[in-house]
Symmetry: C2
Subunit: 354 residues, 2 copies
């Protein structure tokens, strides 16, 4: 299992008052994990940029491009803050959602509700095909998707390509229940650009590709465009499957419409939209989507080859492994239910799927 | 159709700066509907109590009993505020959710997402039985549930018992798309206590009872306890159905557990839990549940008699009526999907249902 620790060199563990910005050369230390500081008493002028100054002591997602709504979690302690080559990273202890991972000011993971997202993005594709053997995860540096993929005993190889090594490192430090995914010997970590990685993959390599990405508006935009989907299709075996995070029907039907349209042109098997509820999502949201409405969706597509009927899973999870924590969210019924859409969304998506 | 306008006498239409409290004797006027004021520029000291002082110009639900989370909508204009015999009532124009109805500081309805709640709470029960004729709505003063019930051409009588006449009046004024439900000649409005009303109902009167109530902790607590469910069961014909708002599985599994247990003892037909997504819900939340996670649930039960299989609807909606706006959310697939629960919730509810 490859691993890159170099990027931690530019991070900082916040362990004394007042809250300070990251400094070069500070290294994470196991001993300091829980010595984060409370920001409740910190003066506004000393609060880090990634903490909202709107409600002192609270983390708020309020976007200038979608100014009408905000979602706030009370910050008990800041456990970590740092700046990687790609983004600002913060981890705080919330009063009600456990530990929270924030990248560039946007909530990525909370301990309380991560199960719904991780289980669905992994098992919707993997339970839809018989005996998946080779799986690629793009993004997903926290390790949660790996944890779920590794429940499948048929899987022999799990590659993950995460662009930000610091995300991997801090999640190993602060989110052991997610990063446990890295402990599986089938996992190979590649720190680098997912688009470039995919281009170099030999044709027909994977049974399944899971794209645990940020939103289609912003830095991850190319992960929702035709060239990327073409790379994914090429990397998949005939009848292979892809699952990619695909926004919320309550917010962005026009974006979903375009994604469905692109996928329909590239994936010659089946193209489907599924959704589920995660209280603190959409996550990893762009400037436009930076608020929470509790619903996130997925595109599920297959390449030409053996047909895949995503709505009727053929590969039940082996949930008898007593060494693993039981599934919290996913089951066969909720798998099929995820493809049942409200009428306003069904109308748009069906018209683009044909 | 009975109607009570007297309670409007103690309300006020806010139409000039600074924001002021309601005064006796001010009457709603059609001409003034859109002359609400913007609170963005109002000094904190003059902001009405029901507007958060935490983020000036924003409406925030932040509860002292559940202090870790807040959900905020930006207030463009306050259109109405008043105090009825039962509660504080405010209506504001939000920047992204259309008009918003707030009772005692808690969001009840937003124009943007009300369709999901109203359609599901009405059609889950009514599509599960053949030819419903007599329907009772408890609560639901905004009229949205009536609007949905009236889509069913088999229905001959729609009784509604809403405790707060002022809610009915202001919704007729500011939410015509909801209050249109009152225009159906089959509707009979009773302004009064739903518990007392139900007790007086002759045995076996209704095919369906829909309880559009506030939460089980607080003033509406008795609407979730055995005596109330007994009254409902008595008011229903054999094989009649009830649908009642029943919290979110992400928040209150212990409360849901108790409700399921109570229902199991009273309703000798079937007892089921369903859920759906509504971005700004839970609504009408108590002190404990005063925040938004985007998921709301329903209890669906039937009395002894002809068996009711709620998961497989037998009574499709006649959606061909061109005089009515088409359904936005509900369809047959989403009806069945609503009964598929995440594993953590299924485990608890199944154990109480047996």
């Amino acid at each position: 299992m490859a691993e890159e620790n170099g990027s931690v060199a530019s991070s900082a563990l916040v362990s004394d008052l007042p809250v300070k910005r990251s400094r070069e050369g500070e290294i994470l230390s196991d001993n300091n994990n829980e010595k984060g500081i409370s920001v409740e008493m910190v003066e506004d002028s000393k609060v880090p940029e990634c903490i909202s100054s709107v409600i002192p002591g609270w983390f708020s997602e309020i976007s200038p491009m979608w100014p009408g709504e905000a979602h706030s979690l009370k910050v008990e302690k800041i456990l970590f803050q740092g700046k990687s080559d790609y983004q600002n990273i913060m981890i705080f202890q919330s009063s009600t959602y456990g530990k929270v991972l924030v990248l560039d000011g946007v909530i990525q993971v909370t301990e309380r509700d991560e199960c719904a997202y991780q289980e669905m993005i992994a098992h919707l594709p993997l339970c839809s095909i018989p005996n998946p053997k080779k799986v690629l995860v793009i993004g997903g540096g926290d390790g949660g998707v790996l944890r779920e993929v590794s429940r499948h005993s048929s899987v022999e190889q799990i590659d993950i390509c995460e662009i930000d090594g610091m995300v991997v490192d801090v999640c190993k430090q602060f989110f052991p229940d997610l990063a446990v995914g890295y402990e599986d010997p089938r996992v190979n970590l590649h720190v680098g650009d997912g688009v470039a990685f995919l281009k170099a993959v030999p044709e027909g390599t994977y049974d399944a590709v899971i794209v645990d990405s940020s939103d289609p508006i912003g830095p991850a935009q190319e992960l929702f465009e035709k060239p990327f989907f073409e790379s994914v299709a090429k990397a998949l075996r005939p009848g292979g499957v892809v699952c990619t995070q695909a926004e919320s029907i309550w917010l962005h039907m026009h974006i979903i419409e375009d994604i469905v349209s692109n996928c329909r042109q590239i994936f010659k098997g089946s193209v489907n939209y599924a959704w589920t509820t995660v209280p603190t999502y959409p996550r990893q949201a762009s400037l436009i989507t930076k608020f929470q409405i509790g619903v996130i969706g997925f595109m599920l597509c297959s390449t030409a080859g053996p047909p895949v009927d995503f709505k009727h899973p053929v590969n039940p999870i082996d949930d008898d492994d007593s060494q693993k924590a039981p599934l919290k969210f996913y089951n066969k019924q909720i798998h099929s239910a995820a493809f049942c859409l409200p009428s306003f969304a069904k109308k748009v998506i069906d018209s683009k799927s044909k």
